[in-house]
Symmetry: C2
Subunit: 349 residues, 2 copies
Amino acid sequence: MNANPILAEAMRGGIVESFHRGALAIVDADGRVHTRLGDIERPVFPRSAVKVLQALPLVASGAADRWRLNDEELALACASHGGEPRHAQTAASMLAKAGMDASVLECGTHWPYNDAALKTLAARGEAPGALHNNCSGKHAGFVCLGCLMAQGGDRRDFLGGYVKPDHPVMREVTAALQAATGYDLSRTAVGTDGCSIPTYAIPLRHLAHAFARVATGTGLSPDHARAAQRLRAAVAKAPFMVAGSGRLDTMLMERLGGRLFCKVGAEGVYCAALPELSLGVAIKIDDGNTARACEVVLAAVVERLLPLADADRAFVHGMSDLTLKNWNGIEVGRLRATGVLRHGDLPSP
Amino acid sequence: MNANPILAEAMRGGIVESFHRGALAIVDADGRVHTRLGDIERPVFPRSAVKVLQALPLVASGAADRWRLNDEELALACASHGGEPRHAQTAASMLAKAGMDASVLECGTHWPYNDAALKTLAARGEAPGALHNNCSGKHAGFVCLGCLMAQGGDRRDFLGGYVKPDHPVMREVTAALQAATGYDLSRTAVGTDGCSIPTYAIPLRHLAHAFARVATGTGLSPDHARAAQRLRAAVAKAPFMVAGSGRLDTMLMERLGGRLFCKVGAEGVYCAALPELSLGVAIKIDDGNTARACEVVLAAVVERLLPLADADRAFVHGMSDLTLKNWNGIEVGRLRATGVLRHGDLPSP
């Protein structure tokens, strides 16, 4: 196996201290590869980066209308949130609209990723619940879908085990993922995600194609195309919900609005849709480093591809080339996307 | 640049989800390379992995005797600790023995790395201080050394700026690092570490050689050789102090005692001394991942090199090949050292 190119590097004392290899696919809505860096055919687990694809049935089925979900709630259905109070409250609201509560969630419990939210809970002597799980909005969306699918039957009975691959809810979700990516999920590796739903290994080329479809609607069913447009619009209106305070997805989409839809995933994955360019983007950092490596790479891709006003460009550049400070606030180095993402044309096939 | 070999991999759903490249040097006390994996000549910042070398002057100068430092305090001088109550108390005790307090520390402040210690502080509405900084023991050691060097002068005046490369304290510390590694630190890249002292870029081959010298005393001055032996013995007696609850360094040395001295550093660095084999080990993970990648690699090296009883081997193996569980406690994958560290002879020069 050839090594993937170095996409991000951490500098200290004028030299490269650490570096991150990875692969990048940029694909148009017809499936043409616009940019290929590294191996974009190796199947990778997209993890949370495809939550918007997994939320398509929530809207397409009519469940979002049936339970009158608003933009904040639809954005939370696509989110890996920080467990801040508004996130937890919004997940609770989604469940309540469908007549449910947090006891039906099967995502598990962890302390909020947001540091202030964690310390506030600890200071109150409280423990976190499933609503604080970064996936609680996605799961609340599954529950809302399931409550529509249950029709006249007992909703709680119907929902039990909704995270399993063969549950009717998860079958709908997986079918949407397969339709958008055009990849045969019945023949690829299946893992269990952090929140217990299946995650399917899919090549970056197919993931980027799916996000070009999300960007344009091209190649999706009419229901899914409308659902994708509505979810993108909801996130553009409520970008806090998709991640949270100080998080890259929130900051970029607060700044750029509907010009960009981007979503981080665990283990160094990013997917993005660029509607005005009809392009989709998918990134995987080999070593799985999300917070550090994959974020600067995504920011560099946005900076490179989108025509931006100077102020917006400077804002995005500040996320692809960061100053690193130590505990005394002294500048000790930089974290930045490498030249392969900066200079000349990005390579194409 | 040829890519370094893959040393650790994270498995999910039966496939490799993410992987970590890096380099490994195992060197004997005469400087002969026992094992070379990847590029061991590239200078890398050793960060906290060389704290035992930086503590040599504390003992060799007579300061440790002058201030009657005990084993726990000497172990803390070599530590990247979790900021647990015993760590903070022990750092305070070192300072008090030299007539100082935490106000002289120049390491900066951060929340304890230990999760329970962080939540306890938060629950009390308290903020962390410099004693909770993972480097507070190392800095308390610098202060103890400086208080001896200040002789009749005003100690606080003398200590001011002790983190700077040209301060008499730091010059002593850097001289010890240069003597142990045999590498010309005046001609290499210098960065600023997280705790504001300089960190010098040194090839893994030289770092491993330094730890073989720590293991044996060979090639060190008699004072430094005695200091190395005393510091290793102190850590073997008080391994909790060098890291803390649930931390690899503490767990391995609690189990193996003086048969192993190992020390983690930031950005994916590990150094270790194996006295009974007269060998030193130095590892750098390319992407800087310490907690995940470098730990399993170090454990695999220990498992491979040290003759271990079955129970000890199983214990160490549990740290080089780990089960990964999700928020519901479901097994989702494995984290493990790769075959290059497992099968056949480790490659030699």
